[in-house]
């Protein structure tokens, strides 16, 4: 019977047995690929549109736009220097505050906390990351800024201000708002991200290595410091950079508490501005097609480049665990 079946008949039999796959499957797989590629295109479009939108400002002011500290809407002279400085300065303050805290909390969550408490406490700390940025802004503005102005900054200015070298960091009027307050609020915001990744890295340390350290008589803290942390160091550096990346782009919270002054100052208490806060603040006064709007878009492009580099580095480090 087989001999009587011609080639085309056999083909159509095979085709008849999988009627669903022939047309629909390529369409479905194409859809999957399409959505995958779409994400790539999306990022490319974001970069292209920010760059293109800000290009006229770059043409007008040249490459010195990057470090020029003039920001004068009246004379239409714009430079990114103050904002780039403010973005980096406030983000570094945030990381400097958040790092030791995350370090300790990760130690607490992985080694100290009793079993049944670990998850609830871990989740509660994670909830800090879920609170919307604008809420941090309001809380910072109405609660933390007055506290800083009344109780924290005056004694610091009195005690540390007159010191040589570091004194410059602690000078100026106690306004409450400023770089330190912004850094502090951002530290609370990025703390859960860094802690969560620390915990994940620390839990991936092989128990055998830790047990051998305990076996030679090391204390819990010594095992943490000399075994677990060095084992996961690369990924932990990546986690810190991820926190830094988040702090760099933080907008609403910072806009509320940084004071929004387009001046540069080395003092922790001086009001300042970040790229993100400047865009949020000054966008409403920038009309379509104006030089100011182009300058803001160019600022956005610079912020994108900075955070892209930081995030890319952090991803690379986190991937190569150990």
């Amino acid at each position: 019977m087989d001999a009587t079946l011609s080639g085309t008949q056999a083909d159509s039999l095979v085709a008849a047995r999988k009627p669903t796959g022939r047309v629909s499957d390529p369409v479905f797989v194409g859809l999957l690929w399409g959505c995958g590629i779409f994400v790539l295109i999306l990022l490319g479009l974001i970069i292209a549109m920010l760059f293109e939108g800000g290009l006229p400002a770059l043409r007008e002011f040249g490459i010195s736009f990057l470090w020029s500290t003039t920001w004068n809407p009246v004379t239409e002279r714009f430079g990114a220097g103050v904002m780039v400085f403010g973005t980096l300065f406030s983000a570094v303050i945030a990381v400097v505050i958040a790092l030791p805290l995350s370090f300790g909390i990760a130690f607490f969550l992985t080694e100290i906390a009793p079993g049944p408490l670990r998850r609830p406490i871990g989740v509660a700390i994670q909830l800090l990351a879920a609170v919307p940025s604008i809420i941090y802004g309001m809380w910072g503005f109405f609660v933390i800024v007055p506290l800083m102005a009344a109780y924290v900054q005056p004694p610091l200015i009195e005690w540390l201000g007159p010191l040589p070298l570091i004194g410059a960091l602690f000078q100026g009027p106690p306004l409450g708002a400023g770089m330190l307050t912004a850094g502090l609020i951002m530290a609370i915001m990025i703390l859960p991200f860094i802690t969560a990744m620390f915990v994940e890295v620390l839990e991936s340390v092989p128990p055998m290595i830790k047990e051998s350290a305990y076996g030679v008589g090391a204390t819990t803290y010594e095992v943490y410091r000399n075994v677990s942390v060095p084992y996961g160091r690369t990924a932990m550096v990546g986690a810190v950079m991820l926190g830094l990346g988040r702090a760099l782009g933080e907008t609403m919270a910072v806009t509320f508490v940084i004071g929004n002054a387009t001046r540069m100052s080395a003092s922790l208490f001086a009001p300042g501005a970040t790229i993100a806060s400047t865009i949020a603040n000054e966008f409403p006064e920038a009309s379509t097609g104006s030089l100011k709007l182009q300058a803001l878009l160019q600022l956005g492009f610079i912020l994108f480049v900075i955070s892209f580099i930081v995030l890319a580095l952090s991803r690379m480090l986190v991937r190569t665990k150990g």
């Binding site: 549109m49 609170v131 204390t219 865009i279 912020l303 955070s307």
Partner: protein, 277 residues
Amino acid sequence: MASLARRRATDYAAKAISTGFAALSLVFLAWILWTLLARGLPALGPHVFTQITAPPGAGGGLLNAIVGSLIQIGVALAIGTPVGLLCGTFLAENGRGTHIGNCVRFVNDVLLSAPSILIGLFVYQLLVVPFGGFSGWAGAMALAIIVIPVVVRTTEDMLNLVPIGLREAAFALGAPQWKVVTFITWRAARAGIVTGILLAVARAAGETAPLLFTSLGNNGWSISLNAPMASLPIAIYQYAASPFEDWVALAWAGALIITVGVLTLNILSRLVLAKMK
């Protein structure tokens, strides 16, 4: 090597400090929640949910902002969920171990942590400038771009938890890939995928910066997606910084509503995820 007593003391101190740090972070959470309750609850009343924005001193509520937020989040989900779902499926099923898959995963990670204000600027350039005005559509689009990477990430994670044997069994029966994915893997990972969507809603609901340049906000009744549209975060932003006491009170009420909503969604989704893993 230091003496045993000193090492013990160091160990004890490190444990005490770490415990203190953990307690401190819980204090911050409690402090934020307490502030919200103490200032938001007195301002909360039926008028917040039933009246629209009014001039200072004339009462008024947040109805238009709440409805605007719901509409924009709804549209953002309608756009972002299918794209994110398919892209996450692509990563888990087709892109595993390939260069293009790694590339898409990396780019998605970047989008996930990219400053959201830049997404607002991007949509401003893409939709607001060419179409001549701020609109609910632009706001929804910006939120969709916030939603997509969250859904992609959780979908991929959840599909990776589905045992490979389940897929193999379906393929062995001669099922095409679309059937395997829709009837087998998606179904097996359903709870996790829904959780991812809830997380995306929680994220999008609190976003303020991307809406500043896209849907702008609106002090009137605004349910047309073609016009500027009110939203809760933008209303909070405007009212909190205003000099009028009743507006600031409304901002706290809004802040309380949004935080309770977002935290509830988060806790719910974490409970489901914990059960799955």
